[in-house]
């Protein structure tokens, strides 16, 4: 049973002002209805005027996705009623979109894969609803129009994706591309929303509306694949319908059939003039995009494909890496891709909350063997916890010092260094292990190494411990 998925992705363009008025888009930390004017409030008599930057941004996307930009594109009104809508219609593009027929290459389930883009068009975001009341009190909505009029691009793919995982990979690649283009900020809450069309080959198509997170897309599709396959196995038919993704429960639920009957009565927006911007495309110089940067990371820093792909899969991560790569790009790649990312993920933190100089400092300590790898991780954890709590942190050096995690010396001539002392103690306390070792059970050494590490609270370098133990055990033989 083949799975067929197509996506419609809505992304907020990162302009300073809204699509059709001069209100600031920087509303997230402000109170409701503080970034509105007659235009985005839909006051009678107000008129839209198109933001040049939004057009330029959308064209950058179109070019990066290898789209064709038709000679003329037109804004239309999509007419429907809903309390979050300021004018009783949404200004969008319908039969004459900004760009058509492009593609984006992704790492698919079976290697490199080309996903076709049907169209890219511009539209305005509606307002935001807050639901009030409940079982015991009358229910109503609260409306905030700060979001109304934020510029969106809608990117529609052909049904070229074959699994929830591919859908997620497509989204990740698209997100990275948009961020590299400097037109989108994925860290802004609600800046991306996805509708997914999914079917099992030969069956009806189901639309899942309004998925608001990257992980949500894979979850919603995975749930839907299972639901549809189970239904088909039981001999049921898949109904063509719209479903909502309930993020908290990880399930999709059927939307009322009424929403299927929408008749949007599109017609050209009479208050806006057509766009003729096909000839702008040649003048757009695209920045380095994820694939190019991935190749450069391999060439310039000698990274493996896997590290290069991970580190270039997110603009901020790639920029962070380049800041900390320094004199030991391989060490930096391992630490960023294999350690830091996991620790950030665990704490639900973003790479932008880590000051590169702090991380570079940590790498220097590790590289100079001032702290061990293991204690390096411990220091990193403490620093991240501090950053998450206060937004700032102490220096890695001070942290290692404070926690007593600096690597211990193990090379004194008289044998009174901490590592040799700890090793002597360990041998004295574990005669059985010593005996086992001497009787040829070499794995007993691992136990003794562990004991020394415990006694030195990880501050001994593993190589030192091995050397000292071997030497002490040899002496006694």
């Amino acid at each position: 049973m083949n799975v067929i998925v197509g996506l419609e992705i809505h992304c907020q363009l990162d302009t300073k002002t809204k699509l059709f008025c001069g209100c600031s888009t920087d509303y997230r930390t402000d109170g409701p209805n503080t970034h509105v004017c007659p235009v985005c409030l839909g006051l009678p008599g107000s008129l839209p005027v198109l933001n040049r930057k939004a057009v330029e941004y959308a064209l950058r996307v179109a070019k990066a996705l290898h789209c064709t930009v038709p000679e003329e594109s037109v804004f239309s009104r999509k007419n429907y009623f809903y309390p979050d809508l300021n004018k009783g219609f949404q200004i969008t593009q319908y039969d004459k979109p900004l760009a058509v027929s492009g593609y984006l290459d992704i790492e698919g389930d079976e290697g490199e894969k080309r996903v076709r883009i049907t169209r890219v068009h511009m539209e305005e975001d509606p307002g935001r609803l807050v639901h009030k009341g409940g079982a015991d009190r009358p229910r109503y909505s609260l409306v905030d129009y700060n979001r109304a009029g934020i510029p969106l691009i809608e990117i529609v793919t052909e049904p070229d994706l074959r699994s929830p995982r591919e859908a997620r990979r497509f989204l990740n690649k698209l997100r990275a591309t948009l961020e590299y283009l400097g037109v989108f900020d994925s860290e802004k809450e609600g800046s991306l929303r996805v509708d997914a069309n999914i079917s099992i080959e030969g069956s009806e198509r189901v639309e899942i509306k309004n998925i608001t997170s990257y992980k949500g897309v894979e979850k919603a599709l995975t749930f839907e694949v299972t639901r549809q396959k189970n239904a088909l196995r039981r001999g049921q038919k898949i109904v063509r319908e719209t479903r909502h993704f309930v993020e908290a429960r990880g399930v999709t639920t059927s939307a009322r059939s009424k929403e299927m009957e929408q008749d949007y009565r599109y017609f050209p927006e009479p208050d806006l003039c057509p766009l003729r911007v096909a000839d702008w495309v040649d003048g757009i110089v695209l920045p380095e995009l994820p694939d190019a940067r991935r190749q450069r990371f391999m060439d310039q820093y000698g990274l493996s494909l896997i590290h290069a792909r991970t580190l270039t899969g997110d603009l901020r991560l790639a920029e962070f890496y380049e800041k900390v790569a320094g004199t030991d790009p391989a060490l930096a790649a391992t630490w960023v891709a294999d350690t830091l990312l996991g620790e950030l993920n665990y704490r639900d933190m973003s790479i932008s909350s880590v000051p590169p100089d702090v991380f570079s400092g940590l790498l220097s300590l590790v590289r100079a063997r001032v702290i061990t790898d293991r204690n390096g991780v411990d220091v990193l954890r403490v620093l991240l916890d501090e950053l998450k709590e206060k937004g700032t942190c102490e220096s890695p050096e001070a942290c290692a010092e404070r926690l007593g995690l600096r690597a211990l010396p193990a090379d004194s001539a008289g044998g009174d260094d901490p590592v040799t002392k700890a090793a002597r103690e360990a041998l004295a306390e574990n005669p059985r292990a010593v005996e086992d070792y001497r009787n040829g059970r070499k794995e007993a050494l691992n136990f003794l190494v562990g004991q020394v590490m415990r006694k030195t609270r990880g501050c001994a370098k593993p190589a030192d411990v091995n050397r000292v133990l071997a030497s002490l055990l040899g002496e006694g033989a």
Partner: protein, 89 residues
Amino acid sequence: MITEKDVEHIGMLADIAILRGELEEFTASFNRILEYFDILDQVTGEEKDGGAAVNVLREDEVVPSLSPQDVLSNAKETEDGFFRAPRVM
């Protein structure tokens, strides 16, 4: 011919309730008017409009928004800076 049922459907699309007593008059006048519009059937040619201006754009520069008082001053139902609207769920 538009039927009363069609008119009710149109009312739903337009979000306008139609009272029982109004339905007949609306249906009758719709049919008379739409019949008059049938003269458009003889029109040939493209829909395309010959509007002159293209690419009318403004720069991405912030203009002050309305004051919160002005925003909410015309709404009868407000709460904590929000507009209050009927429930959707």
